[in-house]
């Protein structure tokens, strides 16, 4: 190897090692800081100012995630079906949909939070509520679900569609009986990634679903997710150690979600 080659090789390997190293350092660091405080009391059913239990936040996270997905998944999936199976190429509406979807993907979560506060919480009069939070997040994850569903649908070979048409199936039946079943793993992988986005979201929720540490009885009540819970702990500054313990739980959830999405996508890729 020439010296110049050696320098370039060194730079490349160092950068890659730094990227992977930071990831490991972060994970190990959070585990070391958090695991000592992972006590059973942290999982008790109610939150008090002395025992900052994460259970209400955990349950609220599941509720908000489910609600956001119920809103965004059909919308994103149908939109993807329109873009791939129905729209004509170069159609002006399609160009506009693509442009706005790209825009949505780039809007920072705090702007979604502000919009949720102005529209759902104030203009529609929902107040700080799980419903307002779920709708805000649904808009936020819409581009992600649309894009992954579109990719999954596009990867279904055209010959399958032609086969269905040849047997006399209409367009709708072809979509639901042939295309969607084949694209399902890819769509699912995208939905799981969206779950990851929701679970990790804070800025869009503080001023939409609010920060009350309780299990919401109705969708019109306020509740905090795990991420919001962590931020609340850090800004109050009294239970930072419990914040790290919560971070451990959140990190484990996120790692599982990522692994699940990758596993499904890989199985899908292998089948193709």
């Amino acid at each position: 190897m020439r010296p110049s080659e050696r320098i370039l090789a060194g730079l490349t390997w160092t950068a890659a090692a730094a990227t992977v190293g930071v990831l490991f350092y972060l994970i190990v660091f959070i585990l070391i800081k958090g695991i000592p405080y992972l006590k059973p009391s942290l999982f008790s059913l109610t939150y008090t100012s002395n025992n900052v239990s994460l259970t209400p936040a955990l349950v609220s996270t599941v509720i908000i995630t489910a609600m956001s997905l119920i809103i965004a998944t059909p919308l994103g999936l149908f939109a993807a079906i329109y873009l791939t199976e129905y729209a004509r190429r170069g159609n002006r509406a399609v160009v506009l949909v693509r442009m706005t979807t790209e825009t949505l993907a780039g809007i920072p979560s705090i702007v979604y939070g502000l919009f949720g506060l102005l529209f759902f919480v104030t203009a529609l009069g929902w107040g700080f509520s799980v419903l307002a939070g779920a709708f805000t997040l649904a808009i936020m994850i819409l581009p992600l679900i649309m894009r992954t569903a579109e990719e999954a649908i596009l990867s279904v070979p055209d010959i399958w569609r032609e086969g269905a048409f040849g047997l006399g199936a209409g367009r709708l039946r072809t979509v639901f009986r042939i295309v969607l079943p084949a694209a399902m793993p890819g769509i699912l992988a995208g939905v799981i990634l969206a779950v990851g986005r929701i679970v990790g979201e804070t800025a869009a929720l503080i001023y939409t679903s609010g920060t009350v540490a309780q299990i919401p009885a109705t969708p019109m009540q306020s509740a905090r997710t795990l991420s919001v819970h962590m931020y609340a702990l850090s800004s109050e500054g009294l239970h930072t150690d419990q914040g790290y313990a919560t971070a451990v739980v959140l990190l484990v959830v996120v790692i599982l979600i990522n692994a699940a999405s990758a596993w499904i996508a890989r199985r899908f890729g292998a089948k193709k």
């Binding site: 080659e5 370039l8 730079l11 490349t12 160092t14 950068a15 890659a16 730094a18 990227t19 992977v20 990831l23 972060l26 959070i30 149908f78 939109a79 329109y82 729209a87 509406a93 506009l96 949909v97 706005t100 790209e102 825009t103 949505l104 780039g106 809007i107 920072p108 979560s109 705090i110 702007v111 939070g113 502000l114 919009f115 102005l118 529209f119 808009i139 649309m146 367009r171 709708l172 039946r173 990634l193 990851g196 679970v199 990790g200 804070t202 800025a203 503080i206 991420s227 962590m230 850090s234 930072t240 914040g243 790290y244 971070a247 959140l250 990190l251 996120v254 979600i257 990522n258 990758a262």
Partner: protein, 277 residues
Amino acid sequence: MNDKLERGMGAIFFLSAAASILAVALICFFLLVNGLPMIFRSGPLTFLLGKEWSPADIPPVFGILPMIAGSIYITFGAIIIGLPVGVLTAVYLAHVCPKRIYGMVKPGVDLLAGIPSVVYGFFGMAAIVPYTGNSILSACILLGIMILPTVVAIAESALRAVPEQYYRGALALGAGHYRAVFGVVLPAARSGVLAAAVLGIGRAIGETMAVIMVAGNQARMPVSWLKGARTLTANIVIEMGYAAEQHREALIATGAVLLVFILIINLTFSALTRRKA
């Protein structure tokens, strides 16, 4: 299936696709309608270039230049740290690493993208702040890490889009592997690298929670890399909880300014990627 159902579902699919148009329109409308009156009442220049933010004074003073400067400083620093490391990692993934290692590094980079920003914030509070304080520099380092996955993903796909012949041609002319990659392939992918930088800027300028937890958040013009500063995003989250009337409007206006920044960045990004295609 009958024709009616066929047409009905077609309409539903179309309306679903139109939802994202509606969403963008609503977001722009609500932020601008609630934010612009405040900006024009106090004068756009006073609001955008005012160096003092004192919502508690009588009368209150709303100038967001400190926050604009804070966002720019922190974003700039994050790019200085994150872009070279990210692009080099992308080179590693696309042209250096063996397949088996790729199968381990790539999911790692994806995981980095999936880690919530509050977790980054807690990491920064304990692993970076003890060394560099609640400061611009801490925020730059943390954001530099957070934009890595974005930069890596875009730069890697740009590198992979460069035709194989470029690399082979360079080898045939006597270049070694790394010189071929850095001298020929990487320059050929430069618009992709630029796009990675632009999207990284978008991510960094929009990041909120992690920045709040390490940047100090003083609403004053940045004085030094080792002193604190406040970003546009932090301004909104920190004060929205208790703001009322004019103060609240000023925060929404801050959001509108942020949205305009992001729209400009997004347009730049799509212009860069479209020209390539």
